[in-house]
Amino acid sequence: MAAQAAAREAPNRPMVPITYYLLLAAALFCMGMFGVLVRRNALVIFMCVELMLNAANLTFVAFARMRGDDLGHVSAFFVIAVAAAEAAIGLAIVIAVFRSRGSVLVEDIRTMKH
């Protein structure tokens, strides 16, 4: 029985190290951030934010795999949900702003000054 259990152990085929996934996530995150920082179109900036969120998700999931439990998945799940909400509100705002200003370029929307 013990032997059987040993046999039922996972086959030791070489696996992709989690580090790769994390590197991918990092790259994704940085690209998103880059976009957020350099693009002027509010919509695109939003997309980049989505990218960053995904990077985060990827990290969660990767760690979940690494630790072998579901927590990361749950977090990712919530992140997705929140991202949906965020997107809805954000896009609504973009629309509102476009209505009022006729543009979605951030330099046209410098309302944060005074």
């Binding site: 070489p14 992709v16 790769y20 590197l23 991918l24 951030m33 990712a76 799940f77 949900a81 997107a87």
Partner: protein, 168 residues
């Protein structure tokens, strides 16, 4: 040379490529499309990580719902190509540089940290990341956050309507 690594490499490459397109595409519509592909390839990566549920959700929620939102908005505002590349202000240059630097540093750190996937028993593998297991945790241990999120979504919906509507 195993199949998993190959798949990972492929997906990762494509993900990064489409992500790059998202950032650099001139017209928003292209960015949006690239984003969709990014989501899809990420879903693939999730599968490689045995996170089937998340992969599915990724496709459904992101590639499905969110993207549609984006596209609608783009159509709605019929945004053409952004006329010019906008003058590179100090902020942008600095920010860009910072992100590059950030990636470099992160990379160094990550490479220093050895991280191996856990080895799971077969039945553990069988149940890992399935709807069943996730549903179980979400509806038992994470019930309250779950409900909170549902509420959040509701609020977001109403908020979106209120904000976006020209006159109520």
């Amino acid at each position: 040379m195993n199949i998993e690594l190959v798949l990972f490499g492929a997906f990762a490459l494509l993900t990064l490529l489409s992500a790059g397109t998202v950032i650099f595409a001139r017209s928003p519509i292209n960015s949006a499309m690239a984003l969709v592909s990014t989501f899809f390839f990420l879903a693939g990566i999730y599968v490689l990580l045995w996170a089937h549920t998340i992969a599915v959700m990724q496709v459904l929620v992101y590639a499905g719902a969110i993207m549609v939102l984006f596209l609608f908005v783009i159509m709605l505002l019929n945004l053409g190509e952004s006329p010019t590349r906008g003058k590179p202000t100090l902020a942008r240059v600095a920010g860009g540089a910072a992100t590059v630097g950030l990636f470099a540093v992160l990379a160094i750190i990550l490479l220093k940290l050895p991280a191996e996937p856990a080895t799971l028993s077969l039945d553990a593998q069988a149940s890992f990341g399935t709807i069943a297991t996730m549903g179980e945790v979400i509806f038992t241990r994470w019930l309250l956050p779950f409900e909170a999120v549902s509420l959040l979504l509701l609020v977001a919906m109403v908020g979106a309507v209120v904000v976006a509507k020209s006159r109520i």
